[in-house]
């Protein structure tokens, strides 16, 4: 199913996280696999993953540590490396809030 649209990365990351929270059912977070191999490279940036993690932190702060165990699948090795770094280093709430200018 296509879950990620063409909006801003942070918005799309938040939307995906909401969807995952609503749809995961009885599954543990470490059993959830998200296939991002069809997503544009311009979407899979820090803001996307920080947005997803921020959404989880705001909606279910106790879930955040377990949410880090979600398995993300990206097309290229550099994306996989970045995702692992951003998920590991996300530090709520200082990061990834919506930027207002």
């Amino acid at each position: 199913m296509e879950l990620v649209g063409a909006g801003k990365p942070s918005t799309e990351g938040r939307r995906l996280a909401r969807h995952l929270m609503e749809q995961r059912g009885d599954r543990e977070w470490n059993e959830v696999v998200v296939d991002l191999t069809g997503c544009s490279a311009v979407l899979l940036v820090s803001a996307f993953f920080n947005g997803a993690l921020q959404e989880v932190h705001e909606r279910a702060p106790n879930e955040l540590e377990k949410f880090r165990q979600v398995r993300w699948q990206a097309k290229f090795a550099f994306q996989q490396q970045n995702i692992e770094m951003w998920v590991r280093e996300f530090n709520a709430p200082a990061q990834a809030q919506e930027v207002l200018v």
Partner: protein, 275 residues
């Protein structure tokens, strides 16, 4: 019509160009506008009929990085009527320099440059550079990966022109050798036989490199958006954290890009039977 963006420094150089040809009535895409020579890359903007003939001339004559400027002069003198000399503008990247050849204005090439852009998209490139400069934004170009990020980013800016497309060809010069890489939609016309034979495999490397470049531009945009709160004096730690996260991504991307380019150069040398 076209855009070529060239950069060079102590570690080598490169040219990024689009693939569009334009007539008053039509657009053509997938055109080869770079020629990979022996230790140099030549890019041409203007009359495609002259540029294609030049590339075939260079393929036949096989000049070196030392003799290529004289060979180009010879080509214009012997094969192109004088009234058409101004129909093309050329860039040559060799060793650590960019050379501009503008036959409509100068009788001699401008050597020793570190950066140049030519073609109908060049105005967009120089305007973008001017705007960045006015904002105090630097464009690091110490490594080949940084040069590529800078040149490709500026070529993307030029894609706003109706006469420039976003199918890019990239020519590199490193360690006295040239390398060509391109979108799979670009047809190779004038190039050594060994490269033509391997071209279908060469283009497969382009997709990941372009993805790294696109992701890097997106990270930059995201960081600049966060930091633009400076403009109304509301910059805070959250904005910095956003920029830092983007910066870490860019660092990973640049490392990945350097490694990917090294892999490509090794593969290319092997395919062409070069040491």
């Amino acid at each position: 019509m076209t855009v070529h963006v060239a950069a060079a420094g102590p570690i080598g150089g490169l040219i990024v160009c689009d693939s569009q040809g334009s007539t008053p009535a039509t657009e053509l895409h997938g055109m080869q506008k770079l020629f990979p020579g022996d230790g140099y890359v030549v890019g041409g903007a203007g009359a495609m009929i002259v540029i294609q003939r030049l590339f075939r001339f260079l393929l036949d004559e096989q000049p070196t990085a030392d003799s290529v400027l004289e060979k180009i002069r010879e080509f214009l003198r012997l094969h192109v009527v004088e009234g058409m000399h101004g129909s093309v503008t050329l860039l040559v990247v060799r060793r650590t320099e960019v050379v501009s050849i503008t036959p409509s204005v100068f009788l001699t090439p401008e050597t020793g440059k570190g950066f140049a852009a030519i073609g109908s998209g060049a105005d967009f490139v120089y305007r973008a550079l001017g705007r960045d400069g006015a904002l105090g934004l630097q464009l690091p170009m110490k490594t080949l990966a940084e040069m590529l990020v800078a040149a490709e980013g500026l070529a993307v800016v030029a894609d706003e022109s109706l006469t420039v497309d976003d199918r890019f060809m990239i020519g590199f010069v490193r360690n006295e050798k040239s390398y060509l890489l391109a979108d799979r939609g670009i047809t190779l016309d004038a190039a050594p036989d060994a490269l033509r034979a391997s071209w279908s495999k060469a283009v497969t490397h382009y997709e990941e490199i372009r993805a790294i470049l696109s992701a890097t531009r997106a990270e930059e945009a995201w960081a600049f958006e966060a930091l633009s709160s400076l403009r109304n004096g509301t910059l805070n730690a959250t904005h910095f954290a956003t920029a830092m996260s983007a910066s870490a991504g860019i660092r990973t991307n640049l490392n990945a890009l350097s490694a990917k380019l090294d892999d490509y150069f090794s593969w290319y040398d092997q395919e062409l039977g070069r040491p």
